[in-house]
């Protein structure tokens, strides 16, 4: 039964967040959202992205983890600038990384810097990536490459930690492979023993 309109309460529920076009000049200046990753390329373009990510993977819980660092940012058009780096396990203690930029296989100590336009990725053939973590933020630069790919970057980071299912408390269900390839489960609550030390590494988020 319909209730009286005059006595009604209207509740507006908003889906916030629209597309805003960034531009140069004071008339376009916007307050930086607190959790936005900011990239400024050597060509002067300002790009924004979600927090950088450090993925820690324990394929074998008794050995040192693989550590991967990734971040990306987009601007006007369908262009996405991205970094993918493999770090030595001691990066989590230092925490600084200087990596050689390659256009090929990434092994610890190397990184890839790319620009994706639609379905095409263009990688920097060489260069240097240096970054550091401080107070829940990641900052650094990609240098010794063309201005379209070279950039300074700064922003928040988050951490994920993946372990074999057997290491998870309660023995979480994970896909079982037909081959010897490992399946890892992302320990979102940092409950497992290998992941627990990293629960507070991500600064603002945890």
């Amino acid at each position: 039964m319909r209730k009286s309109i005059a006595c009604a309460q209207l509740v507006a529920t908003l889906a916030v967040g629209g597309c805003r076009q960034a531009g140069l000049g004071p008339e376009h200046e916007l307050p930086a959202p607190p959790n936005t990753f900011l990239v400024t390329t050597g060509a002067g373009r300002q790009l924004t992205g979600t927090p950088a990510r450090i993925d820690i993977r324990y394929a074998d819980a008794t050995k040192a983890p693989d550590v991967e660092i990734m971040f990306s940012a987009s601007g006007e058009g369908d262009q996405t600038w991205s970094v993918l780096a493999a770090a030595p396990a001691d990066f989590l203690d230092t925490p600084r990384l200087t990596a050689r930029v390659v256009d090929g296989r990434i092994v610890p100590g190397t990184a890839s810097v790319q620009m994706r336009v639609d379905l095409d990725d263009t990688a920097a053939p060489s260069g240097l990536l240096s970054l550091r973590l401080y107070a829940g933020r990641l900052a650094g630069e990609a240098s010794r490459m063309g201005d379209e790919l070279a950039a300074r970057f700064e922003g928040p980071f988050v951490v994920t930690c993946a372990v074999p299912p057997a290491v998870m408390p309660g023995g979480s269900s994970a896909p079982s492979a037909d081959t010897s390839q490992p399946t890892l489960i992302v320990d979102e609550a940092f409950e497992s023993a290998p992941c627990r030390p990293y629960a507070t590494l991500g600064g603002w988020s945890r």
Binding site: R2, C7, A8, V11, D55, V158, Q181
Partner: protein, 344 residues
């Protein structure tokens, strides 16, 4: 297209609910009155505003998808109607539940706005009496690839229809997140509801059937932030060496899946065409997921020696053998943001 908003309710007040993200609450929430849910209990008819949502095309399909993503679970909607093409206003407080596109400026710059009219909570339960859904008409309503990180009009429809059915904003892996990027699956209709959403429909309205519904995502929520689970880059991998793809696997149905088959395959064919292919399978798995459950996994694979040089998209297929009868088919495949280049 210019739309007029006509509000005929006097003495009403508008409360903007901008819920901050908090702990990862993996369950839907709704308003309550005297301990019972504020929801639809009477007849629910929905009127399409033909002036802004034409009879055919991608906006029309986005409208229907937005409604059906929720309603196919519980059959709450009693009737659907289309208003006259000359009716270019959305009126509030007229007892008609209207859905249409409007100028963004008319909804305070937001992507969407749902205005609910509720009775006063006094004695007993309380109902939703009217809901008007408005979507910004400058959004793109094209279906995007499964790794698209951004705002889509299709997902905005799904989001706002969630409010129409009575649900509030949520953190976690849900279509009711307060703000974009939107979480999508793969396939030709990637804008969907997730286990954290459907558990709400089950609680409020009950499911009309008992089935699982498997769906993957190349996107996930990491420490409160929606991200592509794999990097948005091309990674060089030699034949015989290992790689992996990170993927969200969920079951939005109300019963466990039982054991189903899962695979990872590589294809040089981009989405959408690549979704339906079945070649270059590089790893196979068995898995089971409980009702309204989910997880994020790194699925390992070895690049086979027989794979030709090329740049490959990474597809993950759930139940590719079609052994599970699901609530919805066509939402079992997605594509990673990562590509692999095989040249060594």
């Amino acid at each position: 297209m210019r739309m007029n908003l006509r509000t005929s309710v006097r003495f009403a007040f508008v409360l903007a609910t901008a819920f901050a993200t908090a702990t990862a609450a993996e369950a839907a929430t709704w308003r309550t009155c005297n301990g019972s849910a504020v929801k639809w209990r009477g007849t629910l008819n929905i009127h399409r505003n033909r002036c802004s949502i034409p009879d055919t095309g991608i906006v029309n399909s986005a409208y229907w998808n937005g409604m059906r993503q929720w309603d196919r679970l519980s059959n709450v909607v009693d009737g659907t109607f289309v208003n006259g093409a000359g009716d270019c206003s959305i009126s509030h407080g007229d007892g008609q539940n209207e859905v249409g596109l409007v100028n963004r400026a008319n909804i305070d710059g937001n992507n969407g706005l749902t205005i609910l009219q509720l009775g006063i909570c006094f004695i007993g339960s309380n109902d939703i009496d009217e809901a008007d859904v408005m979507i910004a008409n400058d959004l793109s309503f094209t279906a995007r690839n499964g790794n698209f990180l951004g705002t889509t009009g299709r997902s905005t429809f799904v989001h706002e229809f969630g409010h129409l059915f009575g649900f509030l904003h949520e953190a976690g892996h849900t279509v009711l997140r307060t703000s974009p990027p939107h979480l999508i699956t793969g396939g030709s209709e990637p804008s969907t509801v997730w286990p954290a959403d459907t558990i709400g429909m089950s609680s409020l309205y009950g499911f009309s059937s008992s089935r699982p519904n498997l769906l993957p995502s190349a996107l996930g929520v990491v420490a409160g932030s929606v991200q592509t689970l794999d990097s948005s880059s091309t990674v060089t991998v030699c034949r015989g060496s290992s790689s992996s793809t990170r993927v969200f696997l969920g079951n939005s149905g109300n019963v466990g899946s039982g054991t189903y088959n899962l695979r990872v395959r590589l294809s040089t064919t981009a989405p959408m065409g690549g979704y339906s292919l079945g070649t270059n399978v590089v790893s196979s798995f068995t898995h089971s997921i409980g009702a309204f459950s989910q997880g994020t996994f790194d699925l390992g694979f070895t690049v086979p020696f027989w794979l030709a040089d090329g740049v490959y998209f990474i597809y993950t297929d759930m139940d590719h053998t079609h052994s599970i009868v699901e609530i919805l088919e066509g939402d079992n495949t997605t594509v990673s943001a990562k590509r692999i280049r095989v040249n060594c």
